[in-house]
């Protein structure tokens, strides 16, 4: 370093006297080529919003100029009109509250049961041997295929709808939870034992927080599945609900309403994802 600076100050004439690395060539100093960087996306603000707005604008322009036929795809403004009607007629809240109620009840139950069963599989050999194969066998079954059975078991009312969402969010949560428990650093568990912590303390203060990152990412997946299943569940004779609204619009080929309904689901997904992000920031702040 010192010799480089020296030869720089003295100029090319004194290069030999300086004897630095630069004198090896004809004395032209040049920076080391930079080869690092990349492979590490950083957050860039407003780009997402911009892409979204641009796409909508393009679509609207396409519809107005007639490039996109109204029969194929209604313009965003028409979908928005349908949405406005929904708001003004007071139907929006009716549909939304019915859906939210099913979603919250089904997903909360599915999550809680999933975490409990996942913990058991993670902690007890017997539960792992007995329950895990069952979970692996039932997880891949599309819950939609079981709808008729759910109707028979839980009735045509709210029961079958909540059950569909419950089952849908239960399995991914189980798998995420027991995976998280398996990944908890064993030396931390050993440490707890070596200090004579009770079994329950070790589970509550070491295993559960240690598995929390995995549980929360399971949460994201199960929340998306719950929203997907909402529409399926509301196929079973629901009068109100965003899914029911979409299905009705679909059967009447009211594509503007259909799009409005789909947009509502989309926003619901965004809100849930944002809420889980908040929960992560709060519960996993220690990861920095």
């Amino acid at each position: 370093m010192a010799s480089l600076e020296g030869s720089q100050a003295a100029g090319p004439a004194l290069n030999d006297a300086g004897g630095g690395a630069a004198s090896a060539t004809d004395g032209v100093l040049r920076p080391v080529p930079y080869r690092g960087g990349g492979f590490r996306p950083v957050p860039v603000r407003f780009v997402g919003l911009f892409v979204f707005v641009a796409l909508i604008a393009l679509w609207e322009a396409g519809s107005r100029s007639g490039v996109i036929s109204n029969l194929v795809l209604p313009a965003p403004s028409e979908a928005f009109e349908a949405f406005r009607y929904l708001v003004e007629s007071g139907q929006l809240w009716r549909h939304l509250s019915a859906s939210l109620q099913r979603l919250v009840i089904g997903w909360t139950l599915g999550m809680s049961l999933g975490v409990a069963v996942g913990l058991m599989i993670g902690l007890f050999s017997l539960a792992r041997a007995g329950v895990l194969p069952l979970v692996s066998a039932l997880f891949p079954i599309p819950k939609i295929a079981l709808l008729p059975l759910f109707v028979i078991w839980f009735g045509i009312g709210e029961g079958s709808k909540v059950a569909t969402i419950l089952f849908g969010s239960f399995f991914p949560t189980v798998i995420a939870t027991y995976g998280g428990v398996d990944n908890v650093d064993r030396t931390l568990v050993r440490m707890g034992q070596s200090f004579g912590l009770s079994w329950w303390s070790i589970v509550r203060k070491i295993i559960l927080p240690g598995a929390m990152p995995a549980i929360l990412s399971g949460c994201r997946i199960s929340a998306s599945i719950a929203i997907i299943l909402l529409v399926a569940a509301e196929m079973i004779g629901a009068e109100y609900g965003v899914g029911a609204y979409i299905l009705m619009a679909g059967s009447l080929f009211a594509t503007d309403q259909l799009l409005a309904g789909v947009a509502i689901l989309s926003v619901l997904g965004l809100v849930v994802s944002w809420l889980i992000g908040k929960a992560e920031a709060w519960l996993l702040g220690w990861r920095g």
Binding site: G192, Q193, F195, G196, L197, I206, R287, G288
Partner: protein, 257 residues
């Protein structure tokens, strides 16, 4: 409280890991255990701490547990084993929460051990914000908080750089001079062994047997770096270990280290 190991032998599957270990650790004594890697030092410490049971032999305690000791046999781990989601004080608090005591008492113990390890100003810090040396100080503070009768230290300084290691050795010496704690101190670092050990137990390569026990009379406080007598002991230990270490190094591992 004294510690007595009698005829400890252990196998993992077909490999014999420890063979016929007899050892006594007296009160207020630091016994260093050295040996080539894979010779069963950590395993031996797990037996002493009651985290595992040997195939043969027994670990015995004699004498009453000192009054007020919450966890007579207490570990300090090589990789600190701090809960990353708990602050420094909460990590110490963790090991007190299962004991019946008032919140005030717990607060007092935490403040006391953090002061003794020079951590008072880091109370609220999270482990990831601390250097390796600081993390190990937290682990030592946590161990002290349960007033151990015997500290079981498994390479506590091995994850640290050499300067930090010197600093922490000084701290441990200070601590011992004040509190005269009993310790089994596993290390593969001979300098640590001659600096901290009243007695040094040399194990052979796997299966670990006691090859020699070296006693150092010099008071811990008088041992400094560059001491010729200690250097001589260290050289002697290295003579003993060299061939064992070479042979151990060439063995094919058939289990987890």
């Amino acid at each position: 409280m004294d510690l007595l190991l009698r005829g400890i032998t252990h196998r993992y599957g077909a490999t014999e890991v420890l063979s016929d270990i007899d050892l006594a650790v007296g009160e207020g004594e630091i016994v260093c255990i050295i040996g080539p890697s894979g010779c069963g030092k950590s395993t031996l410490l797990r037996f002493i701490g009651g985290l595992e049971r040997p195939d043969e032999g027994e670990v015995l305690l004699s004498g009453p547990v000192p009054a007020g000791s919450l966890n007579p046999l207490t570990y300090v781990f090589q990789d600190f084993a701090l809960l990353p989601w708990r602050s420094v004080e909460a990590n110490v608090s963790l090991v007190l929460e299962d004991h019946a005591m008032s919140g005030r008492e717990r607060e007092e113990i935490i403040a006391d051990v953090l002061a003794r390890t020079g951590l008072s100003e880091f109370r609220k810090a999270l482990p990831r914000q601390l250097s390796g040396g600081m993390k190990q100080r937290v682990a030592i503070a946590r161990a002290l908080s349960v007033r151990p009768a015997v500290m079981l230290m498994d390479e506590p300084l091995s994850a640290l750089d050499s300067q930090t290691r010197e600093l922490l050795m000084d701290d441990l010496v200070d601590l011992w001079q004040r509190e005269r704690f009993t310790a089994c101190y596993v290390t593969h670092n001979l300098a640590e062994a001659v600096r901290l050990g009243h007695r040094i137990v040399v194990l052979s390569r796997r299966p670990g047997r006691i090859r020699r026990i070296v006693e150092i009379d010099r008071d811990l406080g008088d041992r400094g770096p560059g001491d010729s007598e200690l250097d001589a002991v260290q050289r002697e230990l290295w003579q003993l270990l060299r061939d064992e270490a070479r042979a151990a190094d060439r063995e094919i591992a058939d289990g987890v280290a």
